[in-house]
């Protein structure tokens, strides 16, 4: 758990928006609505995402209450993604063997809808035998300083987490990369004009600002 032990790798976000009245209750309801739901081996879903308690991310039955996500002036949550990922060679071999059986039974090659039905049946069987792959990413929202830390650098995961966070808490997030930090810094009008026309500086060429 990156939040409580071990090395930490994270990205920073600025949180824009005010806390609503009764925010603890509202947040509890909003988080519960978007909590992680485990994948059902009998359904066709191959992916599930949602919030989990940061201290027990695999306790699927446990409700996520204030006690789980509020620590002092911080809101801490886990974001969990589960996905069924079937090894391609395994899937290919199983489908091929079923198609061979079909050919022996019917004397015809399986094509189109029949082939798709065979693939779906093989995947349904594998879902019952293979555990989904799980990833849990932690976040910590410093509500006093309006800053969020997401403990991953994966662009695809942070994009999804940011969307879910904004929807859950009705706020907007701005990624505090070096560009954003420069853009929001307090600059004179001259400096801001210079920033807007800045180009990369090659150390071994003459300096220029103009674009």
């Amino acid at each position: 758990m990156a939040l409580f032990s071990g090395a930490m790798t994270y990205m920073r976000y600025r949180v824009e928006g005010e806390l609503p009245d009764n925010w603890t209750d509202k947040f509890e309801r909003s988080i519960e609505v978007r909590r992680f739901m485990p994948l059902d081996a009998d359904s066709e879903d191959v992916e599930s995402v949602g919030w989990v308690p940061v201290r027990s991310p695999f306790a699927d039955e446990e409700p996520i209450t204030n006690a789980h996500f509020l620590l002092s002036s911080w809101l801490v949550l886990g974001y969990r993604e589960d996905q069924f990922a079937f090894p391609k060679p395994l899937l290919r071999d199983r489908v091929a063997s079923r198609m061979e059986l079909h050919r022996e039974k019917t004397g015809m090659e399986a094509t189109g809808q029949t082939k798709r039905a065979i693939e779906a049946a093989v995947m349904a069987e594998l879902r019952k035998k293979i555990l989904p792959r799980s990833r849990v990413i932690e976040l910590c929202w410093d509500m006093q300083n309006k800053q969020l830390r997401i403990f991953t650098r994966s662009v695809s995961i942070t994009d999804r987490m940011v969307k879910l966070f904004e929807q859950t808490f009705d706020v907007r997030l701005k990624h505090c990369n070096y560009v954003e930090q420069a853009v929001v810094s307090e600059l004179s009008s001259t400096a801001r004009s210079a920033l807007e026309t800045l180009v990369p500086q090659n150390i071994f060429q003459e300096m220029t600002h103009a674009r």
């Binding site: 201290r55 620590l71 990624h175 560009v179 150390i203 071994f204």
Partner: protein, 201 residues
């Protein structure tokens, strides 16, 4: 997710300022030479801060798919590869740093591309010396204290890094000032190459 949740425009803001994406790499390159060549005095509150280059960095061109240079060494300043890469037009895109404040050591790596702070290692604040089992209430208080101390440590790192970036940006936006910085970096690179590798400009 709820059925009525809508897509947010957050991804659009990332694209809007993409023309300034080089700022992170320029900052880390500037920072490397700033720490190497000058005595940098920093403070957290009243506490002096010692910041030094760590033992790992990587460099690459701003654009293109040319091979990146990764250097790991207890003495990066002795590495001719770093200077050679910069002479070839590469910038620092990841820089490991060690920060000492109040006898506590923080090690971390700054990443140019996304502004991430990576691999932060700090002291363990709660060694369980007597091995006693803690009650549920005590465990919760312990977690809260651990979180407080770890997040405070990240705040310390961020305060220093943000102050250095602010200094870089203010210098970067003044042509005459940054010209002087670039000239110093150029001399450091060429002088270093000459001394270490016997290379001619």
């Amino acid at each position: 997710m709820r059925a009525d949740d809508k897509d947010s425009p957050s991804t659009h803001r990332r694209i809007q300022y993409s023309q300034l994406n080089f700022l992170g790499a320029e900052f880390l390159t500037w920072l490397y030479f700033h720490l190497e060549e000058e005595t940098v005095q920093l403070k957290l509150g009243d506490a002096p801060v010692e910041l030094r280059i760590g033992n790992r960095m990587s460099l690459g061109k701003l654009e293109g798919n040319e091979v990146r240079v990764q250097v790991a060494s207890p003495a990066l300043s002795d590495s001719g590869e770093v200077l050679q890469a910069i002479r070839s037009g590469a910038y620092v895109d990841a820089l490991a740093l060690d920060m000492v404040v109040n006898d506590r050591l923080y090690s971390f790596t700054l990443m140019a591309k996304d502004g991430a702070i990576s691999g932060v290692k700090i002291q363990q604040f709660f060694p369980d010396e007597d091995g006693n089992k803690t009650s549920r209430e005590n465990k919760s208080a312990e977690l809260e204290t651990t979180l407080l101390l770890r997040m405070s440590s990240l705040e310390n790192i961020e305060e220093i890094v943000d102050a250095l970036y602010k200094e870089f940006i203010s210098r970067r936006l003044m042509l005459s000032v940054f010209s002087s910085d670039v000239s110093s970096i150029r001399q450091a690179v060429l002088g270093g190459l000459k001394a270490k590798l016997g290379m001619v400009q």
